[in-house]
Point group: C2
């Protein structure tokens, strides 16, 4: 059902049947280490290139989500997936062995949100009984794509984030599950003119503010209606900017806000500066920690709103700005006791 | 409504309210020159970089589609768009001024199909009254992204296609229009192990065969049920491969098949070797010639199935295969007299 300017709510149930999260070694050593389904100690995931490593990471994660949900690829009608690589090759190559009809997505680090929005709309409309939504990122393939080859050993400023090696996947179902997607808010491309790719948090915060404000307006809810309002990878600097931007609109999310990039690493011991980033940061945190809290009922309702920075190496070299985008997914515990 | 293995049919009307096609000079000089809404003689579209040129091309095309449909961006609920550039920056930057909630897509040259599939599903479900579906490519930005900078003057083999500078956009509506989308078929990633990026037609033909076969099966139709079965940019070599592959499955589409890449250029005088290619090839041909034939009722029903090659420069350098994907959209003349 159409809600407000940019949102859709689901009268029929759209369920998260199961989720899975697979990460790399460094992520496994972080504060969320015990939450993930699999921590792979081999950063190459048994492959020869970083690109194949990311594809295998995503494949394993999707396989695990299907296994946990007790479904085979044949029973999954559509896959919605994306990643950060040029021409999103990690998801095209990574998922091809499943032979699931597939939609390739690019929403930068908001991709897990985009895939869940489209997946939920598809299941909610009755176009599919079950779909797979997934996203990934890999530290080494992302550094190569967006910054410098690792071999250069370039120094990173304190405003830079650390791309998470991780993937998350959910199986959405029209029948039952651990949590329910009750609404989605589709983000606009928001451009505040930031040009520093080493300060992605500041570039993406305006998009997060826009989508969160839109979701609260469209669904007529307050920040207090949520146990957590969860961004993907704003990091420490972006978090401050987001809270400030929303305060200017008389919305205070400081008590509810959580950022997956901040949760992912221990800032003191893991040398990740402004926090974690990448599609895999939000995806793997949502599919582990957040889903566990919703499953247990400790959290009743969250707004999951990962943000993406819509730049490329080419646009950076051509001195373009870095526009952001953020897609929102409202998820409620299957217990169904809303706090709103 | 779910149809067969990979398709959805729409009981409620999903209409193509209007379409627009904008192309570059070379495309304007080709056989379809008189069909397009705008032929821009400045390949830079008034911009300073090829990337910005493509963004402006897409923006103009989307604006034109909205103008023709007499809708403002505020009345378009969602945009579904993509392009070939790294991180799909042409669509992110090109459409951002409209401030329409946007889904970024990557389906390589199948993107116009992907955007129409998702747009039709969204309108068909009642999630939006009107959506924008669009895709673009630009010869110069694509050559730079996938092959070599133009300045190198590299020679091209006869199996290579020529990336079309062009964009197509449709406004889909739940109410009325020039033609009706009656079904969609979502493609799988199909990999026959082809590795030559100068022979994309051969790499993509298996995906086209797979989706066309799936669509005919899911909708229980014959090739004769269609006036045209339209691929995007297989070119001359890919066309032969496609027809052969389907003949092996006892399906003969030789009388119905049309390829936008073959239609776009005059092979004898325009030096484009195997034909046109790029997201913009299928998009601009569909949004001009095909829509005109449907509008006039000369064609009653077509299966539009653009194909994409899911490679990147990185996967090529790493000696990967080139998997393909193809999404199918069944479109019927608003006259409603089916020939099936």
């Amino acid at each position: 059902m159409i809600q407000g300017k940019a949102s859709v709510s689901f009268d029929t149930g759209v369920w998260i049947k199961e989720s899975a999260a697979v990460v790399g070694k460094k992520e496994g050593e972080g504060p969320l280490g015990n939450e993930f389904d699999e921590v792979c100690m081999d950063e190459l995931f048994g492959q020869k290139t970083w690109e194949d490593a990311e594809g295998e990471l995503l494949r394993r994660c999707a396989q695990l989500a299907m296994d946990k949900a007790a479904v085979t690829p044949e029973k999954v009608r559509f896959a919605f997936a994306g990643d950060l690589l040029n021409q999103t090759t990690a998801s095209s190559f990574g998922l091809k062995s499943f032979q699931i009809p597939q939609f390739g997505l690019y929403g930068a680090c908001s991709t897990m949100g985009e895939s869940m929005v489209l997946g939920a709309m598809t299941v909610g409309a009755g176009y599919a009984e079950q779909v797979l939504c997934a996203a990934s990122s890999h530290f080494a393939s992302a550094e190569k794509t967006f910054r410098n080859p690792l071999d250069y050993g370039s120094q990173r400023p304190y405003s830079a984030t650390w791309t998470v090696t991780g993937a998350g996947a959910v199986i959405l179902s029209g029948k039952s599950g651990l949590a329910r997607i009750t609404g989605v808010t589709v983000g606009k491309v928001v451009d505040y003119g930031i040009k520093d790719p080493m300060n992605m948090g500041a570039a993406m915060a305006p998009a997060a503010a826009d989508t969160i404000y839109q979701a609260l307006t469209d669904f007529n809810l307050e920040p207090e209606s949520f146990d957590r309002i969860i961004t993907g990878d704003l990091g420490y600097i972006g978090q401050t900017a987001l809270i400030d931007l929303l305060r200017k609109k008389n919305v205070d999310i400081s008590n509810q806000h959580m950022d997956c990039g901040i949760e992912m690493f221990d800032q003191k011991t893991q040398d990740t500066h402004a926090g974690g980033s990448g599609c895999g940061c939000a995806a793997s945190t949502f599919c582990s920690l957040v889903m566990k809290k919703l499953k247990s009922g400790e959290w009743k309702r969250v707004l999951f709103c990962p943000t993406g920075a819509l730049m490329s190496q080419t646009t950076y070299h051509e001195e373009q700005t870095i526009p952001g985008i953020c897609h929102g997914v409202m998820v409620e515990s299957a217990a169904g006791v809303f706090i709103g």
